[in-house]
Amino acid sequence: MNAAVLAVAADGTRPINGVALAVVIIIFVAVAVMGFLAVRWRVTPADRGLKTLDEWGLGGRSFGNWITWFLLGGDLYTAYTFIAVPAAMYSTGAVSGFFAVPYTIVLYPIVFLLMARLWSVSHRHGYVTPADFVGGRYGSRTLSTAIAVTGIVATMPYIALQLVGIKAVLTVLGLGSGDNVILQDLPLIIAFVVLAAYTYTAGLRAPAVIAVVKDLLIYIAVIVAIVWLPSHLGGWGGIFDAAQTKMSAVNPATGKPVGAIIPGATSFNAYWTLALGSAMALFMYPHSITGVLSTKSRNTIRRNAVVLPLYSLMLGFLALLGYMAIKAGTNPVDLNGKVNPQLVVPQLFLDHFPAWFAGVALAAIAVGALVPAAIMSIAASNLFTRNIYKDLLKPHATPAEEAKVSKLTSLIVKFGALIFVLLMDQSAAINMQLLGGIWILQTFPAIVAGLYTRWFHRLALLIGWAAGIAYGTFAAYSVVNPVTHAHFGGSISPFPFTDVPVYIAVSAFVINAIVSAVLTLVFRALKVKDGRDMTTASDYGADEGDPKVAAINADDRWVTPSPDAPIV
């Protein structure tokens, strides 16, 4: 470790790696050009200018198998994942890091089961967001607004964390150590302004094009690393031995081992609830649903569920880079001179590969931040436009107005995330992301149950949602970091009335589901008025050839509520 420390000056300033930086800049510029050109990509002359939400915010609802595979791969496996998963493996081992593998395994049966139905009903009714669907299904504007606000609030810190991913790359490259605050963050600001500009111009088509480049680069980087590094570091046996040694050391603050490379029996429940809860939550995030709704046919997402696990394979290998960094003695020192585990993967590439190849790998991570950041900002903007602006403020907004509002909102969302990262402590973004994961899972009962049954009462779902959010927020706040004594110290806490440690989002979800079910029975017994369902059973099996509801009767979502079903 000492030799590595010497390579970085004591105050954390780093020399700029010219070759690697040049490669990153070239790839970044190429990607930006592609992003702007995407405005003409697969656009019919009539749709030039992307004047509707379907065109701007869903890429014309036209993506086939290949584009969807790249787009969803780029969307779900974000730069923050690439940075945070190996960082967790490097710091505390399997439970907080490797759960990402079973998480992205059990994800796909869930996607297979749910998303084709969501696609069909959205296709029939022209839904752009999950809140559109909930509003149409339950006839409750309050419930759809709750879903929309949850989606926006959960997405914002996620966008901010993509910036954290770019920042890790820039730090390792030697940028960002200037004295002036503006100068220090200038590369990050430039990257985000360019991203905001092409997302504004080309909408979802920009990240779709860029995702192809990003995914290919990341596959190349990970495959090369996983083939070459283990033999270079003396084999897998030595890598796991080094990790074992680090994890069995006793943490002076807690008196317990730092971590474990194989979870012990006490953390089994944490491991599987983290995996299941994250898998259930991921496709409730607006950016995932945007990816699903941009596909051209009902079964595109199912075919993708079969082949997307290839990305999970890559994520598993990427996680193991965290252990390789332990064996290699990688020293992730941040600009302030402190160890920052988030720098391990970029640092590992820079230490062990030629500068040009390290540049390719670092560019893959940086570009990997741009794709999800673009899709997330589009998804959040669509939610705002459809479920707040149109539903609450201007019910008669035209499709062109919708597109305009959404484009402007995407700029606001991105600059909000940028300011969040520049002005606030990084741990604030991480805490918010932790909470966001808990919150977004509370939209699961309304969205998923709605795909199969109209049994739940709209008011019961709303109260269940509130109960889940309240419990989840309180439980997360109550987790105290044993070292820093700060709140929001983690995402694991005992299941209510037991001492079994589980993922808080799952406990909150169980509370949410029970409250929703019990109150539905109560409200039915009391004959509390329920909303009107605008969907029919046949909508859930519709495919691209089937006529859209809008073609039969004009948009009647809110404009003409029937007198017997007042809107809550």
Binding site: I110, S120, G237, N299, R303, L310, D543, G545
Partner: protein, 94 residues
């Protein structure tokens, strides 16, 4: 909403849905049974069982989903044919 109630598919047969439902439950539950794989031995190229087994599971899951896909799409196509005749499509395996 009688105006929009045009059936998109014919009635379902239970068997394909029951079979694929069971397979989906297996695909969700089995990877979450941690005691099944939280062990070091047998190692593979020096990699503990815990790690190589979960990586192997990625392939098993893809295979399982492919089987479910073929079952479901065949039934979907049959139901669609029952209503649409020649207009049946599953979006095409492009």
């Amino acid at each position: 909403m009688s105006a929009t109630e045009v059936p998109t598919r014919g009635p379902a047969r239970p068997a394909p849905y029951v079979i694929s439902g069971v397979l989906l439950v297996i695909g969700i539950v089995v990877p979450l049974i941690v005691p099944l794989y939280a062990r070091t031995d047998p190692t593979l190229f020096g990699m503990p069982f815990f790690y190589w087994y979960q990586i192997l599971e990625v392939f098993l899951e893809a295979l399982l989903l492919w089987i479910i896909y073929t079952i479901i799409v065949r039934e979907d196509r049959r139901r669609r044919l029952a209503v649409h005749g020649d207009r049946a499509t599953d979006g095409g395996a492009r």
